[in-house]
């Protein structure tokens, strides 16, 4: 019976448009990572360098989540269900970095 069912499977041809999009995102991720390296080796550390790193990380995260994890093409409600709770992370970053500075002031 299993063989009977298997023989009914029709393999569709490669979706060229989809594969092209995957390759395009892969190239973008590669370029952004390479650019991160260039910045790491040529710029001196400071606020600008750190901001550039964070910006490029967000760009990469956007492409991975929206294209690879397919979130961009899901229902709008699902996108918000996943995105809105991450607000708490932003709060956590601000609160704990501030706290870290305060601890530094106490210690030194």
């Amino acid at each position: 019976m299993a063989i009977d069912e298997t023989s009914k499977v029709v393999v569709q041809p490669v979706n060229k448009e989809k594969v092209r999009r995957i390759v395009r995102v892969a190239i973008i991720l590669g370029i952004v990572t390479t650019f991160e390296f260039i910045v790491a080796f040529t710029m001196h550390s400071g606020t600008l360098r750190t901001s550039l790193f964070i910006l490029m990380t967000i760009v990469k995260a956007f492409y991975i989540v929206s294209e690879f994890m397919h979130l961009k093409y899901e229902k709008k409600m699902l996108i918000w269900t996943i995105m809105i709770p991450t607000i708490f992370v932003i709060w956590l970053i601000i609160a704990l970095i501030y706290e870290g500075g305060a601890i530094y002031d106490v210690r030194f």
């Binding site: 390296f37 964070i54 991975i64 690879f68 956590l92 870290g100």
Partner: protein
């Protein structure tokens, strides 16, 4: 097996029979998304606490060329992670971890290609791309084992620090390498966070390889072909991309900043 499948299909109106798909994603995919969201919180908490502890330590203020390891201030990552296998003693900062990053991104690409093949019911394609994904994951873990060994064993000039050994404080102890209580690179917290964050991520990669292998085995048996869809491949795909996503953040906040 067959009766349950047809029972669900026959009653799309039955809310509790699994006939409904909220937000047009199946139960399994929705739960995978929620799990990944909670996992994202775990990793954010780890990375943000890294930020807090780093911020509460003194930073190295001098010229970057005169930097030496000391337990008094937080180390500059590119001075710590500057090794490459087979090139001992050569200062090549961040290149090895960059190779690891590319390996993980590539294995994420092969994973989407496996999902794409699954949409077309192309069993051979799914097998091929999933095998590449597993191969990429194993390679990444191997690189990480190498990096950990290098980090733990240590190299170069030992750092002088006060150490707590066998219940006594020893002044001017020569530290080489790293463990959880003392390390040659900087304050103890630095190595602790390195072990915990990259270790926790590495454990996720390991679980991903295990799950991928299981699904690959099922693909080979024809389980999903008989089921009529390759949704399981999509679900492990979501997990695998998440592991890649976390590495993007770990790479930035642990190695670059």
């Amino acid at each position: 097996m067959e009766t349950t499948a047809s029972a669900v299909q026959d009653s799309p109106q039955n809310l509790w029979g699994g006939g409904m798909e909220p937000m047009k994603v199946s139960y399994g995919k929705l739960m995978m998304w929620f799990f990944l969201l909670s996992d994202a919180f775990t990793f954010s908490a780890l990375l943000v606490s890294y930020g807090l502890v780093r911020y509460s330590h003194a930073a190295f203020t001098g010229d970057i060329d005169t930097f030496v390891f000391s337990v008094k201030y937080w180390p500059i990552p590119e001075k710590v992670f500057d090794g490459i296998p087979f090139l001992h003693g050569v200062h090549i900062p961040l290149v090895f971890v960059g190779i690891m990053t590319f390996i993980l991104i590539l294995s994420s690409v092969t994973m989407v290609l496996a999902v794409e093949a699954g949409h077309r019911m192309d069993r051979k394609g799914v097998e091929k791309w999933m095998l590449w994904t597993i191969f990429g994951g194993v390679t990444f873990l191997g690189c990480q084992a190498w990096e950990w060994t290098h980090f733990i064993v240590g190299t170069g000039t030992p750092t002088i620090a006060d150490a707590f050994i066998n219940g006594n404080w020893v002044n001017g102890f020569e530290v080489l390498g790293a463990n959880l209580s003392i390390n040659q690179y900087g304050p103890p917290d630095f190595a602790d966070f390195f072990f915990f964050i990259t270790g926790f991520h590495g454990f996720h990669v390991f679980s991903g390889i295990m799950i991928n292998t299981l699904i690959f085995y099922n693909v080979g048996l024809g389980t999903y072909e008989r089921r009529g869809h390759y949704e399981m491949v999509e679900k492990v795909g979501l997990y695998w991309h998440f592991v890649d996503l976390v590495w993007v953040f770990v790479f930035t906040f642990f190695y670059l900043v």
